[in-house]
């Protein structure tokens, strides 16, 4: 059985979450690229896969290719998944340093995908540095996943691919809305070690999938989580489980207002393998927050609302 077949049989990524209805799917089997891409330039085509299906093929020299807009709702958690592979020479299968180089170079030389958000007028919403994207770093088919929450005012999302000098292949794309009971995304790092969903390590940090199959996030000194929404009138519980690389390994929480202005920081907790939690009510004006992490290896980080 090929890796691709195995991925398809396991529902792309083997999510532990409850099944959800897709709001958008694209198998690339029947429709022509014009049907789902904003524009089709020479070389963009569909090709047959080893199991007889079809996939989207983007040529090496193509700068970007963008899929047509798909409607989404702000402050809803979605998960984008698709299969992809690249023909570039350095991939994680042939070079296990490629993963670290992706992180340290911010993926700027690697094939990539990213989400673009648009309001109801069709204007793009700028939310830079939010981690709405990732690198494609496998020569074999791999299930890329990205959990995301569209920013306020969002009416639609587009997906943009950049082959970056190597042919890029895309298949079985879908977006589903998910609800795993947490306010933050990717709380258990269950999508595997190449799918960060906005978690950004520092220094030598990265996602690792352990031999037992569990993926953990090694933060490095100063890694950050994706932003997650918090409201000033609500009581939240923030729970973390994991190890500390040093005795002093700890988590800090930074609050931001709706304009993205930093409101303040607070010490949150020192994670343990048994799990630690803190309850809090965010300060006035809080719109969202994120973790800053110092020398921890997290297995789980969950934010839940205790009051409506």
């Amino acid at each position: 059985m090929s890796i691709r077949t195995m991925l398809l049989l396991t529902g792309l990524c083997g999510s532990l979450m409850l099944p959800a209805n897709p709001i958008h799917t694209q198998s690339f089997d029947t429709e022509q690229p014009e049907a789902y891409l904003e524009s089709v330039v020479e070389g963009v085509t569909t090709v047959q896969t080893e199991d007889g299906g079809m996939c989207l093929a983007l040529p090496a020299e193509l700068r970007v290719s963008t899929m047509k807009a798909m409607p989404v709702t702000p402050e809803t958690t979605y998960k984008l998944t698709f299969l992809a592979r690249t023909d570039r020479s350095d991939t994680v299968e042939s070079n296990d340093r490629a993963h670290m180089e992706m992180l340290q170079s911010y993926g700027r030389f690697l094939p990539m995908y990213e989400l673009l958000f648009f309001d109801s007028d069709g204007e793009q919403i700028q939310r830079s540095g939010r981690g709405f994207g990732g690198s494609i770093l496998t020569s074999d088919w791999y299930a890329y996943s990205l959990a995301f929450q569209p920013p306020p005012e969002t009416a639609a999302v587009k997906i943009r691919f950049s082959p970056r000098n190597s042919p890029l292949y895309i298949d079985n794309l879908e977006i589903v809305s998910i609800d795993d009971g947490t306010i933050n995304v990717n709380p258990e790092f269950e999508y595997g070690e190449l799918n960060y969903s906005g978690w950004r390590p520092a220094r030598d940090g990265r996602l690792y999938t352990r031999p037992d199959g569990k993926t953990v996030f090694k933060s490095g000194y100063g890694g950050v989580s994706p932003f997650f929404p918090l409201r000033e009138t609500v009581t939240y519980q923030l729970y973390a489980r994991g190890q500390r690389q040093t005795t002093n390994g700890w988590l800090s929480l930074t609050y931001y207002d709706a304009e993205g202005k930093r409101l303040g920081d607070r010490f949150l907790l020192r994670p343990t393998v048994e799990g630690e939690s803190v309850e809090l009510v965010p300060p006035p004006g809080t719109f969202e927050a994120r973790l800053v992490m110092y020398s921890v290896i997290l297995e789980s980080f969950r934010v839940t609302a205790l009051t409506p």
Partner: protein
């Protein structure tokens, strides 16, 4: 108990005339250093008192022969009296005297018996009953009480009890008798009765026997409550010490007659230390042991009168000294008076007197090589007319807790510091140290409501953080605006003041070390200021609105000060002006409060605080704050909390002098810096495990200058340094001055754009101010020159310690010279070539964390890297030990570049801007990259071999590819290895024990490219 050895006695019953002068009751001959019991019966109609005097062979009264304590009273309703004591080393004749304002009592059955109970501690079982403090002259908060039918000595928190000096023999073996209390601290005194050492407490706890140190002539045992929060009192019941074996003869020096020291019989123990310091050092320097007498002898000799008792004739000096712990030294013919208005002033004056009349310097605290002086035949006192008072009432170094401090305590007192030290870290009541009480806001609140009770009864006392009360015992500030919090804080402070067994010099009450503050509705309510304006909060976080929360905190402390001042008008309340409260509040600060301004931590220590422009990105915030505090608290006792404790060579005292001068102009109260003790004790605080003494090796002079500036900041630091170097290094002073001039020039060079705060690393300090300015070679040459020039053995040791500190710092830059090996051109790819033995070797790889935490444990599969060079190439040979070489994981071999995705060794090089990555697998697969450029080719050559138990990679990397010239450049390097590729079997290791992707400066090794031999 044996019968007494007296040779003759007065009649057993004498009637004495009434009067205030003591009358002689009885005389006995005594043997020196012998334990006696004096007993008598007395019939008295009114209160009287007795005293014991033991005279020397010349009829003089040694200070240690005086036994006159307030408890030695004769009562009408009591008949029998007993007293125990040791006779002094010079003692030959004992006199029992009685003083009565009215009719003298009738004495009967007066006996003097030699005691040989085996217990060397006088009255260690308190058998004398209540009100018999024989053997326990010095104590505070320690009282004899009845407990379960027996007399015990009860000590309360903050109190202490000291045994009287117990004669011992150096080198002899001693033990604690079965059942004796072992919790005390033992302090060691030499034959001049100067405290010279403390035995570590574990001697008492773990060892049944122990050997008395060389130079020990007396010991005293100290008892106190080490953990006041755990014990409300302790009761001493059985204090003992016994001699086991060893008969080392005590060599008492003959007593000099041409000079003497006079110390009042009732002198304070600090004044006694002053006299003992004089006796000790004049003996060490001049070879004459001056007697310390309680009364001046009749001899026509030079007399050093030590203590405030003798100062009445100098009222103008007393007026000048006022409430300070300053000193005056005056001469009147052959009489020299050393005095202050406080005992500490007497001690500081005696030390200065020694310094002025000899060449002694206490260069650093270290017991073995801290003090430099010349010996001579007697000491003349040419300088005996001077006085001085300190600029600040409080002058303090502070220290990490729990460390051996004795030598550092001695040093501080000799430098005029009156640092308060928790008793568990060292006893310095005899050294002029301030008596204070320290605590956070909550620690005082917990005196009223312990934490367990408070969290249930008053959760509103705890801070509201993000909408929730944060209830923890430590590291929190209370709600500042709750009126009940303020009342409880005041009640807690009252309890603390009432509990204090001694008069406090000041009480410290401060915020917790955190930005966290309460943001409850009450705290967030806008504050109406005295001028009618409104101060509204801008944020619930003190980081975002320091002024608002500083105002809240000082409003609370103002109220506490206002209430307490009415009850304790002399009370000084030290609090912090730190973190958010460094920002001056919008309200006036109560004059009883002594805020400690801490410009932490973004100010640079290179320039004065008021030179605000020097503070880089943070601008002049610290200048503005300091200026405001100085202006608004002028004359009310502003304090500073400083961090001039650097871990390397600097000229930090220059900035300190200016900072202290400004404080002095404003009538400052406390000048402070953080510091560390000079001990061979691992410094776990910084994590490098070095002894703390290593810091003193390189920074002792600056600390000495800082201490001197705390006394008088008007002095020029550079002149103080020159004085220090002349006295400490003597013949080596000139090269040492040149060495320091190099350091100082870089330190003050404005072109070196470097912010230095207390967190700067050793490496950074050394690199920035010595290596990068190009001074390293010259500086080391000067130190070597100084080492050769030094003659005095202690001077030589001081220089050697500086030199070894310099070399240690240099070595810590992880710089290694790559040898130039001409044969490497041809032999680099022969793994067994003997020329590889000429290469520099790196071993000791540590495990790198992945999803597992290894804490840099040694790698299970070790690796050795060797490197050498010729004109063209850098050569590396990396041996990867592997018990199962046949199981290495390799990608299929490729003659062209192929990443060795499996077992491999890795080299990362950088010149500071560009990075190069090289990796080799066991089968010769290789891969190189520049930055993220995979297509870059270095044209390197690679060879691999394998053997039973290891595989070896060799590489020749052209220097041209790295744009470096032989002999002129250095590179930073990292070396790594991956053992197996996946699963639990995978082990990643590196020379630094950290990932090669962790680019922190401490993980790099500097490779100095070898030079071709001419």
């Amino acid at each position: 108990m044996r019968n007494c050895l007296f040779l003759w006695t007065l009649p057993l019953c004498v009637m004495l005339a009434a009067g205030a002068d003591p009358a002689l009751v009885a005389e006995y001959e005594v043997r020196p250093l012998t334990q006696y019991q004096l007993s008598f019966e007395a019939d008295a109609e009114t209160r009287a008192s007795w005293e014991v005097r033991i005279l020397d062979g010349d009829g003089r009264l040694p200070h240690s022969g005086c036994f006159k304590e307030p408890w030695q009273t004769i009562q009408p309703d009591r008949q029998e009296y007993r007293q125990w004591f040791y006779s002094p080393a010079e003692g030959v004749k004992l006199q029992l005297l009685c003083t009565s304002e009215e009719a003298q009592p009738a004495f009967n059955n007066v006996r003097l018996d030699e005691v040989d109970s085996g217990n060397l501690v006088i009255n260690g079982d308190f058998a004398g009953g209540l009100n018999n403090y024989s053997g326990w002259r010095d104590r505070a908060g320690a009282t004899l009480v009845e407990e379960k039918g027996r007399t015990v000595l009860r000590i309360v928190p903050g109190g202490y009890a000291l045994t009287d000096p117990i004669p011992v023999m150096p080198g002899a073996v001693y033990a604690f008798p079965p059942g004796a209390l072992r919790r005390g601290q033992m302090m060691v005194y030499d034959q001049t009765m100067l405290r010279i050492d403390d035995l570590p407490p574990y001697h008492h706890i773990n060892n049944t026997t122990f050997t008395m140190p060389a130079e020990a002539a007396y010991v005293r045992m100290l008892f106190f409550i080490k953990w006041p929060h755990l014990e409300s009192s302790i009761s001493l019941t059985n204090v003992g010490l016994m001699h086991v074996e060893g008969e080392a003869a005590a060599t008492a020096a003959p007593s000099a007659t041409e000079q003497e020291i006079v110390l009042a019989a009732d002198a304070d123990m600090i004044e006694e230390r002053a006299a003992r310091e004089l006796q000790h050092w004049l003996y060490k320097i001049g070879g004459r042991k001056l007697p310390v007498l309680a009364k001046p002898s009749a001899a026509d000799n030079v007399k050093l009168y030590v203590g405030t008792t003798w100062a009445e004739r100098y009222p103008e000096d007393l007026d000048f000294l006022g409430e300070s712990d300053g000193y005056a030294v005056r001469r009147d013919g052959k009489a020299i008076y050393i005095f202050g208005t406080k005992p500490a002033g007497v001690l500081f004056g005696a030390i200065r007197f020694l310094e002025e009349n000899t060449d002694i310097i206490w260069a650093r605290p270290h017991e073995e090589f801290g003090t430099v002086y010349s010996t001579q035949d007697g000491v003349e006192f040419a300088v005996s007319d001077f006085r001085s008072r300190p600029a600040f009432p409080a002058r303090a170094f502070s220290f990490p807790g729990g460390l051996p401090m004795t030598d550092t305590l001695f040093w501080m007192s000799r430098l005029g510091l009156n640092t308060s030290v928790p008793m568990k870290d060292g006893f310095n009541r005899d050294m002029g140290g301030h008596t204070i009480m320290n605590g956070s806001f909550f620690s005082y609140i917990f005196k009223v409501h312990p934490f367990a009770e408070l969290k249930e009864s008053h959760p509103e006392f705890f801070p509201m953080i993000d909408g929730k009360r944060m209830i923890k015992e430590h590291w929190l500030n209370p709600c500042f605006s709750n009126p009940e919090v303020v009342k409880t804080l005041i009640a807690g402070l009252r309890i603390a003041l009432a509990e204090a067994p001694e008069k406090l010099d000041y009480l410290s009450c401060f915020q917790a070390d955190t930005w966290r503050v309460c943001s409850c509705d009450s705290c967030m309510t806008p504050i109406q200021l005295p001028d009618g304006s409104i101060l509204a909060p801008k944020s619930p976080y003190s980081e975002e609105d320091s002024r608002f929360f500083s105002t809240r905190m000082f409003m609370m402390m103002n109220e506490a000060a206002d209430v307490l001042m009415k009850e304790y008008p002399d009370l000084k309340l030290v609090t912090h002006a730190y973190i958010y409260s460094a920002e001056p509040p919008a309200v006036a600060v109560h004059p009883a409060l002594k805020p400690q301004y801490a410009a932490y931590s973004t100010r640079t220590l290179r320039y004065p605080i008021l030179d605000g422009d020097a503070n880089g990105a943070w601008g002049d915030i610290w200048e503005k704050r300091y200026r405001t505090w100085l202006e608004r608290h002028e004359g009310k006792g502003l304090s500073v909390f400083s961090y001039y404790n650097l871990n390397g060579f600097s000229a930090v005292a220059d900035a300190a002098a200016s900072d202290f001068r400004e404080l002095a102009k404003a009538g400052g109260f406390l000048a402070h810096t953080e510091s560390c003790p000079d001990v061979e004790f691992p410094n776990n605080y910084t994590g490098n495990g070095d002894p703390y003494s290593y810091i003193w090796d390189v920074d002792a002079m600056e600390r000495w200058v800082l201490a001197r500036l705390m006394w008088d900041p008007s002095q020029e630091p550079q002149e103080l340094r020159e004085y220090y170097m002349q006295r400490s290094f003597r013949e080596a002073a000139e090269p040492m001055m040149k060495f320091h001039a190099l350091v100082r020039a870089s330190w003050l060079d404005p072109k070196i754009d470097k912010l230095v705060n207390c967190h700067i690393s050793q490496r950074d300090l050394f690199t920035t101010f010595i290596v990068e300015p190009g001074n390293e070679e010259r500086a080391r040459t000067l130190l070597v020159e100084a080492e050769k020039a030094a003659v005095h053995p202690v001077s030589k040791q001081l220089v050697q310690r500086i030199l070894s500190g310099f070399d240690r710092l240099s070595a810590r830059l992880n710089r290694e010279a790559i040898p130039w090996v001409p044969e490497s051109t041809h032999d680099w790819n022969a793994a067994t070539s003997t020329h590889w033995e000429k290469a520099i070797a790196f071993t000791g790889f540590g495990k790198v964390d992945d999803w597992r935490v290894f804490d840099r444990a040694p790698a299970e599969h070790q690796t050795e890297v060797r490197t050498m060079c010729d004109r063209e190439n850098l050569y590396f040979r990396i041996v990867a030990w592997d018990d199962a070489v046949d199981k290495v994981v390799v990608a299929p071999y490729s003659a062209t570049e192929q990443f060795p995705n499996g077992d491999r060794v890795e080299i990362v090089l950088t010149d500071g801007s560009k990075h190069w990555y090289f990796t080799i697998g066991p089968n010769g697969n290789r891969y190189d990259a520049r930055g993220w450029e995979q297509s870059w080719e270095s044209d390197w050559q690679v060879e691999t071999t394998s053997d039973k138990g290891s595989w070896t990679a060799m590489a020749a990397i052209p220097m041209a590819a790295l744009d470096i010239e032989p002999g002129t450049t250095q590179l930073q390097a990292r070396f790594g290895r991956v053992y197996r590729l996946r699963g639990d079997e995978r082990e990643e290791s590196s020379l630094a024990g950290a990932s090669i992707y962790n680019r922190h400066e401490s993980f790099w090794t500097t490779l100095l490219i070898g030079k071709e031999e001419q």
